[in-house]
């Protein structure tokens, strides 16, 4: 009943073809979400197709004003990558506060965004930076990619190959960690693009997943400084509430994390 067949793909094409041949396959990247879910028997794929050894899914490239992180790159490699630190240090920082060392050594950017946990860190970076998700079929703007809790624009059997980020003028990420899981109780990514646009995304806060925060964007557009956010009011309506944080607390955190992210961005 819970048997599963393990495949190790050596290329994206092979992974796609393996997927097509099985009844209920799942791609496996770092396994930091998929394996616990399988152990709890909440998922029981017929086939597990491991993407971990596919060379074309590994690595980081900086070319001009675009930073591209391949989908299978683990957090630790992102966090320590010289190009990441140079081009968008906020991403290196985000990765350094994601999970714990064990998670950072296994988990991948592709797995994170494919899973689209409402409290995951990377979706905030993609949305705030206006990133593009590359798959084996197409390119998808971050706006269109994230579609609510645990749901994305990915089609069945579609593989994320990379994420490309336009290098911003300024960016910062601050996160209040969930005391137990260390996901984002609320995390806010702020970015100012090279053309002067301001984009702010919050994760962990909303009942419908990662979201932009227009009120803070407007305030920062007028004045890129932490104090500009003082007068912004964030409504608790539609925000998550659980044993670790009320909706009002999360509304407060959106402001406070945004202010600190702006301070960190400089």
């Amino acid at each position: 009943m819970y048997q599963t067949k393990y495949h190790r793909a050596s290329s994206v094409d092979e992974a796609v073809s393996l997927f097509g041949k099985s009844s209920e396959a799942k791609f496996l990247a770092g396994g930091q979400t998929l394996l616990p879910v399988m152990k709890q028997r909440l998922a029981s794929p017929s086939d597990v197709i491991d993407l971990g050894k596919i060379k074309e899914l590994q690595g980081v490239e900086l070319s001009g004003d675009t930073l591209t992180i391949k989908a299978g790159t683990i957090y630790y490699d992102i966090m320590t990558n010289a190009d990441v630190k140079k081009a968008i240090p906020a991403i290196a920082h985000l990765t350094s506060v994601l999970g714990d060392p064990a998670v950072r050594y296994r988990g991948t950017i592709g797995g994170s965004i494919a899973n689209n946990d409402p409290a995951a860190d990377f979706p905030a970076a993609l949305l705030a930076l206006g990133a593009t998700v590359k798959t084996n079929k197409r390119s998808i703007a971050a706006e269109d990619f994230f579609q609510g809790l645990f749901s994305t624009a990915l089609e069945d059997g579609e593989i994320i190959t990379a994420v490309s980020f336009p290098v911003p003028a300024k960016a910062g990420y601050e996160k209040m960690r969930h005391p137990a899981s260390r996901f984002a109780l609320t995390g806010v990514f702020v970015a100012q693009t090279k053309s002067g646009e301001v984009r702010v995304a919050a994760t962990g806060a909303s009942q419908s997943g990662v979201m932009r925060v227009p009120a803070i964007e407007a305030a920062l557009k007028a004045n890129w400084s932490p104090s500009a956010i003082d007068s912004v009011t964030i409504s608790a309506n539609g925000l998550l509430a659980d044993i670790h944080g009320t909706a009002e607390y999360r509304a407060n955190l959106i402001k406070v994390m945004a202010q600190r992210a702006v301070a960190a961005a400089g």
């Binding site: 009943m1 005391p179 137990a180 044993i243 670790h244 944080g245 009002e248 607390y249 600190r260």
Partner: protein, 780 residues
């Protein structure tokens, strides 16, 4: 003390095994023909079991049997017992509902087992369990202690009307009322002591084997007290008579109290191994640990303290509601009574105390002793009250404590305990000096300038350890004596085996107990081994909990050593043609004092076993045993002071400094003591800031995994600054008080006192999560 004697920082002998993965835990043990058990547990907090259909499961591959609660009751396996009888104030005995090992009719908490699948592998058992159909009829449930005592609340057990187990009192009500009538000031406080899940690193496990030819059972289990397990399984659960039941607790990965108790899973594994005629293994997973390991604490208390015009305490009134969960676990009844209310005098001279404790059933996991057991609840309450009083009376909190300290010993409190010794001023002074208490206002001002709220919090705890004088606890209702036993075997070649009824599940007995032998005989600890955890090897024992292993267990070893040494001296005197009174033991030799005549221990041992030339009438051999029953509890005490900062934007707490000045009496191995204090402090801080086992109003657990239940991690706690202010315990020859629980007992109040100082608001419940602190800061 010698390099390996008492007081030496000897590296732990057992750690080589543990850190190289060679520890041998229950789940590591495999037996020929072994089967695996998977329990079917109630998803409901309260329901009738209308029927169990296992026909489909029985047809599944590898399934050996599906056994139900009805069958275990029909086979006359006894109901679980509570081993401490408490009498209510009206003279009636406590009111208990029956707790069968698997529920035949009614389930009363989420996770209670109704049936078990036995199969060829763990996964096959798990697969089949999904095919067992249990038909439940849901009943209304109640999880909150105050909701459970309201009229009209769902009722758990017909035996306990109003869900009340007992209404117990201690102290002199008249004298206390009189003190309040005359009081210059009265300080009032409502306190909730949050429910905790113990979370030992190793989940519970049991491996049971029945030998039909011998009608004999062997049980490997995760126990802190294998002899007590055997006693209870034999005498109350009808598993087998004691000589037909061997209980082995091999390496055990932490207990914190939760592995004192004998649980349904062990009973079922034993019973099932006979039924299926094959060994049965069960290893719990983390979710099962959250659902079924006895939880800790869960009190709601109202307390009032009376002061005279000089700020001297004149009286204390306490009313506590203790949530016991759905059933009375093995020692649960004693925890909020004799282990709690007897410590309500704290370190203070309080002439009159009256406490009332109401024990309540709810549809939650049973609650029992957890590191500190009752004493953290008492200490937290008193130390929150003292802090509240200092704020209300506008006096320095350290000074208010100091001016009320007990300074004359022995001191009889109004709540049974007679403190034997202590120096509370010394530990308060040491802690204040270590944290530079006087410099705090300047540091607070500096932090304020940086937008941080800085606070300092004091906690002066006392606890009762060395559990316990058997006669005394017997008179209070305990069902067992709490002595300890030991045996010293000197082998013919002079190596030494110490058999102890204590059990090590992380405490380091294999090192500290050897240090006593090294101290007395001057032999290296490599020549000594400690045997524990097996009822076939060790004569008897009451196990390890209540910080008793050194104060009681090691004293038993000392008594056995003294007997052995006395015999060995006779043999040595005989061999050296000297008087026994002139023999001294040094560096592994028996010497005639003032001469160079000596005989080495191995030669004495050999003489004892060859028996060729022993003194007339002496029995051969060199092996002695002893039972030691303490004459009083011991009273570890100390002061913890915590300095921290609160981030007003997020409510998050960050530690600046945490100092501990403890009086544990004599330290055998200071390094191990420090480790015990570190672990205890982390648990106390965990309770104060992070941990909370939560149920929703319908009794569904909300925190049944580490993704929701916040265990403290290394970066949640500061680096600790420890020191010791020692007064030797007069109650035992080694002067030991015990150190295993102090950290968990004293730390929580220091943290909450510091946070409330930082934010300038006194009312704050544990755990002080960032959300809760932020809301408290910004509350109108």
């Amino acid at each position: 003390m010698g390099v390996e004697g008492i007081g030496a920082r000897v590296v732990r002998k057992e750690d080589k095994r543990f850190i190289t993965g060679k520890g041998r835990y229950v789940d590591d043990i495999k037996m020929v023909g072994m089967t695996h058990a998977h329990f079917i547990r109630s998803p409901h907090a309260h329901a009738k079991v209308k029927g169990i259909d296992s026909s489909a499961a029985l047809k599944m591959p590898g399934v050996v049997a599906v056994l139900t609660g009805r069958e275990i009751v029909d086979d006359k396996v006894g109901n679980l017992i509570c081993g401490w009888a408490i009498t209510s104030k009206d003279g009636s005995p406590m009111k208990m509902g029956a707790w069968p090992a698997m529920a035949p009719e009614t389930v009363r908490f989420v996770g209670q087992a109704v049936a078990v699948v036995i199969a060829e592998s763990k996964n096959l058992a798990r697969d089949a369990a999904e095919a067992v159909v249990v038909n439940y009829e849901e009943l209304p449930a109640v999880a909150d202690v105050q909701a459970a005592i309201k009229s009209g609340a769902p009722q758990l057990h017909p035996e306990a009307p109003g869900n009340q187990v007992y209404d117990w009192v201690i102290g002199d009500e008249g004298a206390t009322d009189a003190a309040f009538a005359k009081a210059a000031n009265v300080v009032k406080l409502d306190v909730t002591n949050n429910r905790l899940a113990p979370n030992a690193m190793e989940p519970r496990a049991a491996l049971a084997d029945y030998d039909a030819a011998e009608e004999h059972f062997t049980l490997y289990t995760t126990s802190q007290n294998p002899h007590v397990a055997r006693l209870v399984l034999s005498a109350f659960y009808n598993i087998a008579p004691e000589h037909k039941l061997r209980v082995i607790a091999p390496d055990v990965g932490g207990g914190f109290g939760s592995k004192i108790f004998i649980y349904p899973e062990e009973m079922v594994a034993l019973w099932a191994s006979k039924k299926v005629g094959r060994p049965v293994k069960w290893t719990g997973d983390r979710t099962e640990a959250f659902l079924t390991d006895a939880h800790g604490r869960d009190h709601v208390t109202h307390a009032e303290m009376a002061f005279d015009a000089n700020n001297k305490i004149t009286g204390l009134k306490v009313k506590t509601y203790a949530n016991f969960g759905a059933y009375m676990s093995l020692f649960s009844s004693s925890v909020p009574t004799y282990l709690y209310a007897t410590l309500l005098s704290g370190q203070y001279n309080i002439p009159a105390i009256h406490a009332e404790v109401i024990g309540v059933y709810t549809n939650t996991t049973p609650v029992d002793a957890y590191r500190g057991a009752g004493r953290p609840e008492a200490s937290y309450l008193i130390e929150r009250l003292m802090e509240t009083a200092a704020r209300q009376l506008k006096v320095d909190p350290a000074q208010l404590r100091r001016s009320n300290f007990i300074t004359q010993f022995p001191h009889q409190t109004p709540v049974i305990m007679a403190y034997d010794t202590g120096d509370f001023n010394a530990s308060l002074d040491a802690a204040m000096k270590a944290i530079d208490y006087a410099g705090f206002p300047a540091r607070k001002a500096q932090a304020k300038a940086q937008g941080k709220l800085r606070g300092i919090g004091v906690s002066c705890y006392i606890e009762a350890c060395g559990i316990a004088p058997s006669k005394a606890v017997g008179s209070l209702g305990a069902g067992v004596g709490l002595w300890e036993s030991a045996e010293v075997r000197v082998n013919p070649v002079g190596t030494i085996e110490i058999l102890t009824g204590s059990h090590s599940h992380g405490q380091g007995h294999e090192t500290t107990f050897c240090q006593l032998v090294a101290e007395r005989l001057g032999v290296p600890i490599s020549q000594v081994s400690i045997v524990h955890g097996d009822t076939d090897k060790v004569q008897f024992g009451m196990g390890t909990y209540g910080s008793r292993s050194a104060a009681v267990g090691l004293t038993a070893i000392l008594k056995a050593m003294e007997k052995m040494e006395s015999k060995a001296k006779k043999i040595a005197a005989h061999a050296l043609e000297a008087s026994e009174a002139d023999i001294v033991i040094e560096n592994g030799e028996f010497k005639v004092t003032g001469t160079d005549k000596a005989i080495a221990l191995p030669m004495v041992a050999l003489a004892a076993y060859t028996a060729h030339n022993l003194p007339d009438g002496m029995e051969p051999g060199l092996k002695e045993s002893a039972f030691y029953d303490p004459t009083n509890f011991t009273f570890p005490a100390g002061t913890y002071i915590c300095e921290l900062e609160v981030d007003p934007g997020t409510g998050k707490t960050s530690f600046v400094n945490f100092v501990a000045a403890d009086d544990f009496g004599r330290l055998i191995n200071p390094m191990i003591v420090e480790g015990q204090v570190h672990g205890g402090l982390v648990q106390g801080i965990g309770q104060a800031l992070l941990e909370h086992a939560i149920y929703d109003a319908n009794g569904q657990p909300v925190t049944a995994s580490f993704m929701d239940y916040a265990m403290p991690r290394a970066d949640d706690v500061p680096s600790f600054n420890l020191s010791h202010t020692t007064t030797l315990c007069p109650g035992n020859p080694l002067g030991i008080k015990g150190c295993g629980e102090a950290g968990a007992i004293g730390a929580s109040a220091a943290v909450i006192n510091a946070i409330t100082d930082a934010i300038g608001k006194n009312n704050l419940e544990m755990p002080a999560t960032p959300d809760r602190v932020w809301r408290t800061i910004h509350a109108a």
